[in-house]
Amino acid sequence: MRTIDSTPGGPKPYVTPVPRLWWTASAGYVLFVLREMTCVAVGYFALLTLCQMSALISGPEAYAALQAWLKTPLATLLNVLCLAAVVFHTVTWFNVTPRAVVVRMGGKRLPDSAIIAPNYVGWAVITCLVAWVVLGA
């Protein structure tokens, strides 16, 4: 099927330029950009974990040095901020899981809550397990 194009030489439509601050146009856009930027915090924690492993391998002094740094106000602030970002990251991604994951049971699609809930449950269980290992032992 072909569509007959506009008569050539006709009036030109106006193309509105997309502003550089397009992402401030709505709350939805702002939240989206924030969510995307939280990957930096995720990267930071991955890097921190690697540093911890490296310090562990290097010996007790290296590990103690790292721990000392972690206790400084700067490091604490950084960790708190990045933790908040990662929690935000986790919550936003958990909440959109139903868009991507469709489960049908008994002829009907499971409601969104049934898809989201296991994520939080799993998160809680793992957190408790880790806490038990770290604090209990």
Binding site: M1, T3, D5, P11, K12, P13, Y14, V15, T16, V18, W22, W23, A25, S26, G28, Y29, F32, E36, V96, P98, R99, A100, V101, V102, R104, G107, K108, R109
Partner: protein, 247 residues
């Protein structure tokens, strides 16, 4: 509630204007009026040159999409009283070239619709005399949501990827492709992959999710896209591990 409300409407006349401008109109603020009723009042009583598209006035033809206070909506479904006391900003759909006033150029969208092969693709077609392809209510349910799209293109106006990259095939086109991919009667998944499994196909989508938010028919195009990403990745992985399988 006051008697009137002001509309600030984009005007653009390509014969004479080099760029769009805004014109204010005062319209009655009636309880059951929608923005479309107000625009018709302007056209009938105040300024006959105002151009906008509309037809069914019941949210099923998809003609009357426009930006109202910065949000893409169907003007036949946007009740004036929800914007009181106003003023209400009425602009043509974002990310589309403006042809005239509130009318935008939809030719790019129409091309993209065709590109995803939105029809039943089968290797062998059954003669009509042999009756219907059996399809249970559950099978129908798997793609039904994606078949509800009225082509209003509000989702394109909500999608920043489309705004920044005109080549992106867009939410409605992908949702329509998925509608056919998931239809038990269709065998066209592979032929649609060429268009969909591309940078400017599904992989251009960064899951902003605004398309689903503005969709007036709850089609959930964002869902269609992410589901396709997962399905096509699974297929690719299967074909890697078990050549010939996963098709």
């Amino acid at each position: 509630m006051s008697e009137t409300i002001t509309l600030e409407v984009t005007r653009y006349q390509p014969d004479t204007d080099s760029e769009p401008s805004t014109k204010s109109y005062e319209v009655p603020l009636k309880d059951d009026w929608v923005v479309l009723d107000a625009l018709n009042y302007v056209k009938d009583e105040l300024d006959g040159s105002l151009a906008f598209r509309w037809s069914c006035r019941m949210g099923v033809c998809g003609s009357c999409g426009m930006m109202v206070n910065g949000v893409p909506v169907l003007s036949c479904a946007a009740f004036l009283k929800n914007y009181a006391p106003g003023p209400i900003k009425v602009e043509p759909l974002r990310y589309f070239p403006i042809v005239r006033d509130l009318c935008v150029d939809l030719s790019d969208f129409m091309t993209k619709l065709k590109k995803v092969e939105p029809w039943i693709v089968r290797e062998k077609e059954k003669p009509v005399e042999e009756g219907e392809y059996l399809q249970t209510p559950e099978q129908l349910d798997t793609f039904k949501q994606f078949s509800m799209c009225i082509n209003c293109t509000l989702c394109y106006s909500a999608c920043p990827v489309y705004g920044l990259d005109e080549g992106f095939i867009g939410p409605a086109a992908i949702a329509l492709a998925q509608r056919y991919n998931m239809d038990s009667r269709d065998e066209g998944n592979e032929s649609r992959m060429d268009t969909l499994a591309q940078d400017e196909g599904v992989w251009g989508c960064t899951f902003v999710g605004e398309c689903t938010k503005v969709c007036p028919k709850h089609v959930d195009p964002a869902g269609a896209i992410q589901q396709y990403k997962i399905a096509t990745t699974e297929n690719w992985f299967k074909s890697l591990v078990m050549p010939g399988a996963g098709k």
